[in-house]
Symmetry: C2
Subunit: 584 residues, 2 copies
Amino acid sequence: MELQDIKSPKDIKGLNYQELEHIASQMREAVLNRTSQIGGHVGPNLGAVETIIGMHYVFDAPIDKLVYDVSHQAFPHKMLTGRVDGYLNRDDFSKVGEYTSPVESPEYDLFYAGHTSPALSLCVGIAKARDLKKDNYNVVVLVGDGALSGGEAFEGLDAGGALNSNLICIINDNQMAIAENHGGIYKHLQHLRETNGTASDNLFKSFNWDYVYVAEGNNVQKVIETLQKVKNTKKPTVVHINTQKGEGYTPAEEYREAFHYRDPYDIATGDLLKVSENDNSNKIFNEFIFRSCKKYPTFLFITSATPDDFGLNARERELLGEHYIDVGIAEQTAVSVMAGAAREGAKVVYGVVATFLQRAYDQLVEDWAMDPSPALMVVAETGINAIKDQTHLGFWDIPMITSIPNIVYLAPTNFEELEAMLEWGLAQDKYKVAVREPVFSKVHADYEVDKDYSDLNKFKVMKEGKDVAVIGVGDFFLKSQKVVELLAEGGINATLINPRFISGVDIELLNNLSKDHKLVVTIENGSVEGGFGQRVASALGTSGMKVLNFGLEKKFVDRYSVKDLEAEYNLLPEQIVATIQANL
Amino acid sequence: MELQDIKSPKDIKGLNYQELEHIASQMREAVLNRTSQIGGHVGPNLGAVETIIGMHYVFDAPIDKLVYDVSHQAFPHKMLTGRVDGYLNRDDFSKVGEYTSPVESPEYDLFYAGHTSPALSLCVGIAKARDLKKDNYNVVVLVGDGALSGGEAFEGLDAGGALNSNLICIINDNQMAIAENHGGIYKHLQHLRETNGTASDNLFKSFNWDYVYVAEGNNVQKVIETLQKVKNTKKPTVVHINTQKGEGYTPAEEYREAFHYRDPYDIATGDLLKVSENDNSNKIFNEFIFRSCKKYPTFLFITSATPDDFGLNARERELLGEHYIDVGIAEQTAVSVMAGAAREGAKVVYGVVATFLQRAYDQLVEDWAMDPSPALMVVAETGINAIKDQTHLGFWDIPMITSIPNIVYLAPTNFEELEAMLEWGLAQDKYKVAVREPVFSKVHADYEVDKDYSDLNKFKVMKEGKDVAVIGVGDFFLKSQKVVELLAEGGINATLINPRFISGVDIELLNNLSKDHKLVVTIENGSVEGGFGQRVASALGTSGMKVLNFGLEKKFVDRYSVKDLEAEYNLLPEQIVATIQANL
C-alpha cells in the first residue's frame, strides 16, 4: 500500500507495523512536499504522524469521532481521509486548508478548531449528545502543541473529569507550543516524561481522569497497542504521548520554533526560499521594545506565545531577561498580567495577534478597561492582508475593542506614526492605549507625524477639499489617498482625513464638514458592522450629510485572494470612486 | 476593641485570638445587618470571615497586596479597611459596593475583580512588577467560591507556578460556587479535604506550587498560624482552607444556594421580605425547558453556574437528569459544549447571563458561529434594568454578538414573542439563534405574535404613520410605544416598528420608509456604539433620511438609579420626544 492510494481510513486497517511505518515515512515526505512549496505547519505534523495513524488504525472514524486541537497538526488525518492529493500534487494544494474543516470533509472533520484549547470541551458536548442518543462510539481528542496552556483546555479537563462515560484525550506532548512552552504545567509534563508517567501529583488524575503514558510516541506499534487498550473505555482517559516536534526531518528537529510554521523552503537545507524584507513593522516593534527596556527600569513585555510577531527571536528574548514574560497560549492571563503589572506601576506592553485577542474580551473589559491600569497593547495581524484562514481572520478587532469603555484604540497609517503612537502609548500614564498594526501600509510618512495623542479623538485633515471628505482609517489610508487622487482626476477636489483614533469620533470636525461637503466616506480595513464608519454615520445622522461606509463584510472567508475579496467587497479604489460618484 | 471602632488593619494587630473571635462574630452580624436590609452576598462572606481576618492580621496591607477573587466575598476586608459603616449604618450602605473597588479604596482595593477567576493572573502581574522594582512585599490572593472552575484560574496557576518568587494563593474551599460545584476538580478538592490535604495527585503541586492545608478554616487561630508560616515565602504557595459557606447563620448554612446572594430577608427566619412576582421570564424559561425536554429525546440544557436565572431550582435540575449539565463557572466550555452537542444532533439550549458571556467571545466566533452547530442561546440580564454593579452590566451584548457572522440575535418585546422565539430557535436546525431576555418588558402581547423567524431580518411594522418612524428594540419597545403616543399628542402620527432581529437590518423596509418619512429613530436598551441603531444609520447613510440613535453610552456606571441614568442618557420618553421634535 502506498500513501497515494489511500482513499479512506479503512485502507490502513489490514496493514502490519512495517507497512504502517512505510506509510508514516511517505506522510512525512508529503508534509515536506506541500509545506516546502506553499508554506505551512511543519514540525507539529511531522511529530504527530504515528499518533494519528494509530488513531485511525484503532478507532473507526467516522463512527468514532476524532477531533484535533489545535488542528494544524492534522495533516496526517487529512491524508487518511481522502485528501492525500492536497499534499502530493501542487495543483491540489489549494483544495486542502491548514486546519480541519467541516466544509472539506463533513464526515471526518467535525470542527475547524483553528484556535487552541476548545476541543476537550467540544468533545464533552459530543459525548453528552452520544449518551443522550443512547449510542456508544468512542470520542477521541488529540490535544497538543501548546493547546494545554489555554484556560479552556483545563476547563475541558474539569468538565470531562465529571463525565461517567467514554472520552479519550490524547495529549500530544511535543514539549513545544509555537515558541518554547511556559508555565508550571510544562515542568510537570517533563517530570511525567522523566518518570515514564509514574510521577506523583499527576495533573490528569487530579481532574479525575484515568492516565496512561506512551514514552515512544513516534513508534507506531507502541501507540497502537496503547490505544487498543483504552478503546471503548467507559471512563475519561488521558493517553499522554511523548513525541518529537519535527520528527524525521533534521532541520525541523533542530530548529523547532522556525519550523513550527514555515514559509516556502528548500527541503535539502531547510533554508527559506525568499527572505522577507527588513523594513517591516516587526523591526519597529523590536527596536521599540529594546529602546523601552533601556528607558524604563520596570519595563515588561508580555506575549502569549507569539514573540515572533513582535520581532523577538530566542536570543533577543533571552537578552530581555526579566523584562520579558511569555505566559503561553493564554491570552486571558496575558491581559490580566498586563493589568496587574500596570496597576503596580510597571511600564507594560502586551503584544498580541488580533484573532487570539478574542479569547480575552472579558479581561479587556473587566481587568484592564475598568481598573486603574494604564498600559500599552499592540494588536498585530489585523485586516484583510493579515492571516487568511477563516479561523484566524483579523477582521473584528475594531468592533471588539471599540465597544469597550476607556480603551483608546489608535490606527497608525505609516511607520513613523506607528512609532510615535507606541512611544506615546507607553510614556503616558493616563490612558489604556491599544495600537493597531498597519499590516497594509508599509510606507514612510512624508510629513512630520504628531508625537502626542492625548487630545483624544482628534482627526487630522491631510488635504483640504470640498464636496467629498474621505476618512481613511489606519491600514487603508493609502487606499483612501488613491481614491482621492482618482476623484481629482474626475474633477472632484476631495478632503482627505487620517482619523488616527478609531475608538471615538471627532464630532467638531465632522460638524464642520457640513459647511462645504455633501458626502463623508469612511474606508476601514475591518468589519463595517460595529466598526468605525458606522459611528461616523450615527454621529452625522441628523446633519443632512450623506455617509458611505466601506470595509469588510460580516462573513467568514477562507484562504481568499486579497484582490478578489476586495473586488467582492467593493473596495478597489476604482469601485469606491464609482460608488462615490453615484452618490453625489 | 469593637468592630465599629476599626479604622484600618493596624487596629487588629495587637488583638488576641479571643478578641479576634469577637470581631469575627460582630462581622457576621454586620454582614446580616446589611444584606437583610438591601440584599447582597451572604454565604460567601460569612464563610470567609476568619480567613480575611487572618490575612489582615498576618500581612501588612497596603504594603502587602491583598486581592480577592471573586471579590463578593470581601465584605470582611472592607470592614477592616475603613468601611465598616457601610455594613452598620443604613445611611452608609450605598457608600460601599458589593465588590472591591479601586474608587472606594485606591489603597486597599487593587481591582474590581467582579468576575471570577482572573485574580491569580492579576497577581502574577503584581508579582512581576514588584520584582522589577526590586521590592519584596507579599502578594496574596484569596480565590474561592467557585472561581477555581474558570479557565483563567488554571492559567493563573500555570503562570504562577513558573514564577520563582513570592505569591500566596489562598483557596477558600467552601464546596460551592453559586449552585453546587461541578467538574472533576471538585471531587479532587473533596478528596484533599477528606485526607487532610495529603491525597496523592495534588493538583496544585502538579502546577509547581507548594501546598498547605487548613482543615478548620473558620478557626481564626489555625488560619493565622498557617499564614504566618508561609509569609515571605520565596515560592508560589497554595494555602487550601476548608471553610463553611454561610458559617454562623443557620439559614445560610442550610440553604447555601439561596443565601449565596439574597434579596432583603428577615434575619430571624431567613425568609424573603418580598416574594417576587410569579409571571416573570424565569417562569417562561422554566416551562420552555421542561416542555422541550419532553418533546426532544436529545434535549440538553447547559448552564455555567447560573441555573436560577433560568428558573431551575435544585429539585428541577434533578428532574432534568441527563438533560441538564452545569459546567461550573466556565462559559468558554459551556459554549463549546453547546457547539459540540449540537454538531452531533442534540437539541441544545445554553442559558447564560450577558456579562459572563463576555468570557466566551472567542468560542462564540470559532466554535459556534463557524461550525455547523445549530443551537439556541438565551442571554439573560441584559440592559439598564438588569444587574447594576459596573462589573456586571449587560450593556454590551449587542455589539459583542452582532459583530459575529452567522448568529441570529433576536430581541423579543413581550412574553409571547419571547416564547415563540425560544420555540422556533430550538425547533429549527438551520441557524444559530440567540434570544435576548426582555428584562424591562414584563408585558403580554395584545396581538398574535409570529411563530416563524426564518425570514431573517424582517422588521414588523406595528403601526403605520408618516414623517417619523420609531424602531423600538426588544426591551425598549414599550418605551418606544410611549414615545409614539406622546408624539401623537403633539400632532405627529409616527410609524412604530418592532425589528425583532438585532443582528441585521431590513434594508427593504428602511428604503420604503424614505417615501413618506423624514426621520428614523432607533431606541435600544444597550450600547449605542457598535449597536443596532448605528447599523440602521449606516444603511440609511446615502438615503437623505435623518437618523437618531438612542441607547446606552460607552461608560462604566456603578450602582446607578435607572431613572437617573435614563435621564442622563436622554432616554426618558419626554426627552426622546423633545429630541425628535428638535430634529424635524
